[in-house]
């Protein structure tokens, strides 16, 4: 027996949609939010480096300020929670050391046993900093996928959002000083009954137009 039946997974992935209008009166309960945070924490990333932090905003005033840096999209203030997915900018040796220390701690292995891995990681990061940041940014989108999927499984609505001004977010939230940079957002909560997008059929290309089976 599967952990989750196919029909439930597919039904929930169909049920979810980029929620345009949230019910501002409905908040995500603390225990449900903890599950969504766990989905973020458990997201995979290249080499397991986790080049990220997730900044969570529920404060109404702060959301109102951020809305002005998000083309005034109502989800920012109406949704229960806003997550700012931020990369650790300019990843380098200190980030590698922090990660290796965590591996040594969790797996109870001596740091020295990770020397080969360390060399590989440092080699991989010795690229122009723009490339390293672009690579880190892509990893954030895996975490976005995990967050949206987990929300769908739990019956929580969400909306991924790229329409915002990252530099303004960095300034408002103080991310720059921390060495982080906003890359993408997700709002989460519960759909308003009168969101006109609820009733619109989901638009996807036909499976045969996006999935191609190749033979030798």
């Amino acid at each position: 027996m599967k952990p989750v039946p196919d029909e439930v997974v597919l039904r929930q992935l169909h049920w979810r949609y980029a929620t345009k209008k949230f019910d501002p009166t409905r908040k995500i309960a603390a225990e449900d939010w903890r599950s969504l945070e766990q989905a973020l924490v458990r997201s995979p990333s290249s080499f397991g480096l986790q080049p990220w932090k997730f900044f969570v905003v529920t404060d109404p005033d702060l959301k109102a300020t951020l809305k002005t840096a998000s083309w005034n999209q109502s989800q920012i203030t109406d949704a229960s929670h806003l997550v700012v997915f931020a990369i650790k900018k300019n990843l380098g040796a200190a980030d590698v050391d922090r990660y290796l220390a965590r591996i040594a701690e969790v797996r109870s292995v001596p740091l020295e046993s990770l020397d080969g891995f360390k060399k590989m990681l440092l080699g991989s990061l010795s690229r122009p900093v723009e490339e390293v940041n672009a690579w880190a940014t892509r990893q954030l989108y895996i975490a976005l996928g995990f967050f949206l999927s987990a929300a769908a499984m739990l019956g929580i609505d969400a909306c991924p959002m790229e329409g915002f001004q990252p530099e303004q977010y960095d300034a408002i939230l103080g991310l720059t000083e921390m060495g982080y940079g906003a890359t993408v957002l997700a709002t989460a909560g519960y759909r308003a009954d009168d969101d006109p997008y609820v009733k619109l059929p989901k638009v996807r290309f036909k499976p045969e137009d996006v999935v191609v089976h190749l033979n030798g």
Copy 2:
């Protein structure tokens, strides 16, 4: 009641890991594979544009050829299925038209009613082609997240892989002529009992080190 209980979602996200050694004798059943394809098809993307195709390889000879372009990693040949996540390169007006035609079809609306949206999409794509391709690439990582999450819910093992030579993949699979470019891979199947990574504890930073609650 939630569609999937929290503990099942979290257990499966913990159960999954980047499988290093697949059992080469175990294949994913056709009906299970269809569910994973559906997860790909239903993945969200910016504006819903779906700037992608997913190339699926199960043929042993073709997998063997691709392995040589993947630093000889055994997952390529041992896993039941290999998915090559590819962007549509240099997205432009033809891609927008194809998408709008699909919206009109699925939602039974006249094409003309989408003129405002068309203008917005074309405006968004009128950037240097490198930026458009980088943006499309990020969308592929959402689909990667959806694929890995869905596999975890269904109890199917998978491994995301960036260690391969994209230009060689494009050449071997003929992607360039089709206007596509390989960005990232996922292999899927079932873990080998003796994969040493099965027993290693998952390494993640502490929740409080990656999730930050901000107040105004």
